[in-house]
């Protein structure tokens, strides 16, 4: 994250304000048209000495099925950094409409465990604006370090997350153009290793622990207002549950990837298969997971948790 200018925020921005601001910006664009920018803002937003609330941490751990240990789950850190990531996409010079963006995939490298007692410096920026057959995509990169090490220089990044978002139907000039979708190979439904029963309140429950009150997750009515037929589960809720299901075998440092496909409309039953890959010596190497709708066979997401080299 060098080269760009750093904006240090005094505190973690409030997501509720960001969503309201994003809605206002969307309305403004509808009236005035887009502002025409085709470049991502070259700014890194940073908040220093962020600490997780222990009550919130425990509630998060219980909701997604992690044991309430003192180590922050990788998905919890994503939620912790999320408002900062949103604040970058909420800048006036951000060229894409924030509301309605689709979370395509997420890649996390957890290099070292982060305890809830540790104060954290969190940075976020956007990069890699590029085409997609259905619109424009970009990466939001967030990094988490132990607080107070900025002066050291090459301080250790304990957690790094890359979230890829798609602005569907937005084609910026000179960047991309619509293309024919590539037909993916048919999905052969495996035997499930788990079956999740997700109640209609799943989105609200995850919103309460993650702070992500995106209206498409909260209720049928708020989801319909944004063009969804029903509310849908947060992608990071699903991926975090899969990570929890992989379990303690993953250790304290790992790589965690997920690619989202068909959304999970609530309430839902989600079938999951986790398969483990062992190294030559028998040690855990990787757990691959795939989730699908047991009725339709449509795939919801795939991913893996991998030991770091």
């Amino acid at each position: 994250m060098s080269g760009s200018q750093t904006v240090i925020l005094g505190e973690m921005p409030a997501l509720s304000k960001l969503y309201v601001n994003a809605a206002a910006a969307a309305a403004r664009r509808r009236v005035l048209g887009t502002h025409g920018g085709t470049e991502l803002p070259d700014y890194t937003h940073e908040v220093r000495s962020v600490k997780a609330g222990v009550a919130n941490l425990t509630a998060y751990q219980h909701l997604i099925g992690e044991s309430a240990s003192d180590v922050l789950p990788a998905g919890f850190i994503h939620a912790l950094a999320f408002p900062l990531a949103m604040s970058v996409m909420n800048r006036d010079d951000f060229p894409l409409p924030l509301l309605g963006m689709i979370h395509l995939s997420n890649k996390v490298v957890q290099s070292a465990p982060v305890l809830f007692t540790q104060a954290l410096d969190i940075r976020a920026r956007v990069e890699n604006l590029r085409g997609h057959r259905a619109g424009t995509q970009l990466d939001v990169v967030a990094e988490v370090r132990a607080a107070g090490q900025a002066a050291v220089g090459q301080e250790e990044v304990r957690w790094r997350g890359v979230s890829t978002y798609l602005a569907k139907g937005v084609f910026l000039p000179g960047i991309d153009k619509p293309s024919v979708p590539v037909t993916p190979p048919p999905f052969a439904v495996p035997d499930p290793t788990a079956l999740w029963q997700l109640g209609v309140d799943t989105g609200r429950a995850y919103a309460a622990v993650s702070g992500d009150f995106n209206p498409i997750h909260l209720s049928v009515l708020t989801a319909k207002a944004l063009g969804m037929r029903r509310s849908l589960a947060h992608g990071m809720y699903l991926a975090s549950r899969a990570l929890a299901d992989v379990g303690a075998v993953r250790g304290d440092s790992f790589r965690w990837d997920v690619a989202f496909e068909a959304p999970v409309f609530l309430p839902a039953r989600v079938a999951l298969d986790i398969s483990t890959v062992q190294a030559d010596g028998g040690a855990w190497q990787r757990s691959d997971y795939v989730a699908w709708n047991p009725l339709s066979g449509r795939r919801h997401f795939t991913g893996s948790v991998t030991a770091l080299p």
Binding site: A55, S67, A68, S69, G247, V249, G251
Partner: protein
């Protein structure tokens, strides 16, 4: 008195005892002959332990479940002894206050831990003796060669306690589930009364007497004429000893911080006899005798978890792990408290003489006494009974008093009055600490240092054990 022979008169008919022996002998043959001589069994050793700091109820662990705390304590043990992905012979743990959904509490904690998922586990429940009983049961399996390694553990949360629905509501809900038609369902529902909606919270009352544990102990405390001053002094020593142990780093390899705590939150390092003397009595206020039991000399409700790693000597050696002490033997006892023959928490007063007789030992042969401080009055009543000629003759069948202990050997690194008492976690706390003390002490007068553990439990029960230094 022989080492193995039963030397304290046992009130069981000789015929029954003989029949049991011969039946077992016929079935087990040669194995029993080996088993009957304890010196020929292999040793079960304490490798070490780990617990999380104990927290007063409603404190740092309010939102943590039994499974969370047990998993945290297990993961600390796993990290300390390098047990990641290790298949342990068996893990046993329990909780006294337990949700019905936690029927497989220990196995679930194992699955959530870094142990191999192929580690079997079982739950055990014997009130406050749960933790010590897991140690004894697993040690026996190791001695018999059934397993080579084991983790004994216990956990309790008074904060996250189960609350049951009332009997009335429970019966209605079950009948409702069985009702097939709408009219039948409505009929069942019409039985509900407002009082049925009041929840049924757990309490420490004895089901057969309706008296709380504190009220029971108040009766015993008065019966043995234990003074307020003696109880406060025991409580003061507990806090002082525990604080000194923390300051000396004694718990550095016995404890993993959790939820921001690195010491037991009940510990009052700055307490004094004067402060303790100002507290008002909370139990025994309706007795004829003076009420002497206060919040200061009674243990508070506490949340916490503890674990103990047990192994055969071969397993510990093969894994290059320490061997602190051996689990020599244990004994359970129970008293008829329901009609006041003995005090509710007095069973260890009977268990210890039986256990020591089996090993031809007296109280003078011990270097450490770990007598669980449910209440200061419990410890002092037990010691008073052992020093009482009449009790020794009429209740223990001895020639006179059972004996007395050197008070400087009692709970030298503090006990439950200071640390708190998450019911099932107390046994593991004591065994791990005692094993470390014994190992540090090493040899005494040419024999291994020896420690006695005594834990009283609800239902008029008690479990006691002997550990020896390695």
């Amino acid at each position: 008195m022989s080492v193995n022979g039963p030397s304290v008169p046992r009130p069981q008919p000789a015929a029954a005892s003989t029949a049991a022996t011969s039946a077992a002998g016929a079935a087990a043959g040669k194995t029993l002959a080996v088993g009957a001589t304890s010196t020929q069994l292999r040793k079960a050793v304490v490798v070490g332990g780990n617990r999380i700091p104990f927290a007063r109820t409603g404190g740092a662990y309010t939102k943590s479940s039994n499974q969370d705390m047990l998993t945290a304590a297990l993961d600390g043990l796993i990290a300390r002894f390098g047990l990641q992905d290790e298949r342990i012979g068996e893990v046993a743990a329990g909780a006294v206050l337990k949700h019905s959904r936690d029927f497989n509490l220990t196995r679930e904690a194992v699955l959530g831990s870094a142990l191999s998922a192929e580690t079997p586990a079982y739950d055990l429940q014997q009130a406050c003796a749960t933790g010590l009983e897991t140690v004894l049961g697993l040690a026996n399996k190791i001695k018999l060669g059934q397993i080579d390694s084991a983790i004994a553990a216990g956990v309790d949360s008074a904060s996250d306690a189960p609350i049951a629905v009332s009997e009335g509501l429970r019966e209605v809900l079950l009948d409702l589930n069985r009702a097939k038609t709408v009219s039948r369902k409505l009929q069942v529902l019409s039985r509900l009364r407002p009082k049925d909606l009041a929840p049924d919270a757990p309490n420490t009352g004895e089901p057969r007497t309706g008296l709380s544990m504190g009220e029971h102990q108040a009766l015993t405390t008065a019966q043995w004429k234990i003074t307020r001053e003696a109880q406060d002094e025991l409580a003061f020593n507990s806090h002082r000893n525990l604080a000194a142990a923390y300051d000396a780093g004694f718990f550095d390899d016995l404890l993993t911080p959790y939820r921001g705590l690195s010491r037991d939150s009940n510990l009052r390092a700055d307490t004094s006899l004067e402060k303790l003397a100002t507290l008002k009595p909370v139990f025994g206020k309706n007795l004829g005798a003076e009420a002497t039991m206060t919040a200061g000399n009674s243990t508070p409700l506490t949340d916490g978890a503890s674990t103990v790693l047990l192994a055969s000597e071969e397993w510990a050696d093969a894994h290059d792990l320490p061997k602190l002490a051996t689990v020599v033997d244990g004994e359970a006892a129970a008293v008829d408290f329901v009609h006041g023959k003995d005090g509710l928490l007095m069973a260890p007063a009977f268990a210890v003489p039986r256990l020591l007789a089996r090993h031809n030992l007296t109280l003078a042969d011990f270097d450490f006494f770990e007598i669980h401080e449910a209440f200061a009055g419990t410890v002092l009543s037990t010691l008073a009974a052992w020093e009482d000629e009449e009790f020794g003759r009429t209740r223990l069948g001895l020639d006179g008093a059972f004996g007395s202990i050197d008070p400087t050997k009692l709970n030298v690194n503090g006990s439950s009055l200071a640390a708190g008492h998450p019911f099932a976690a107390t046994g593991g706390r004591i065994v791990a600490s005692l094993a470390k003390m014994l190992h540090t002490q090493g040899q005494v007068n040419g024999r291994p240092a020896r420690g006695l553990v005594s834990i009283c439990a609800a239902g008029g029960q008690g479990v006691v054990a002997i550990l020896e230094a390695l």
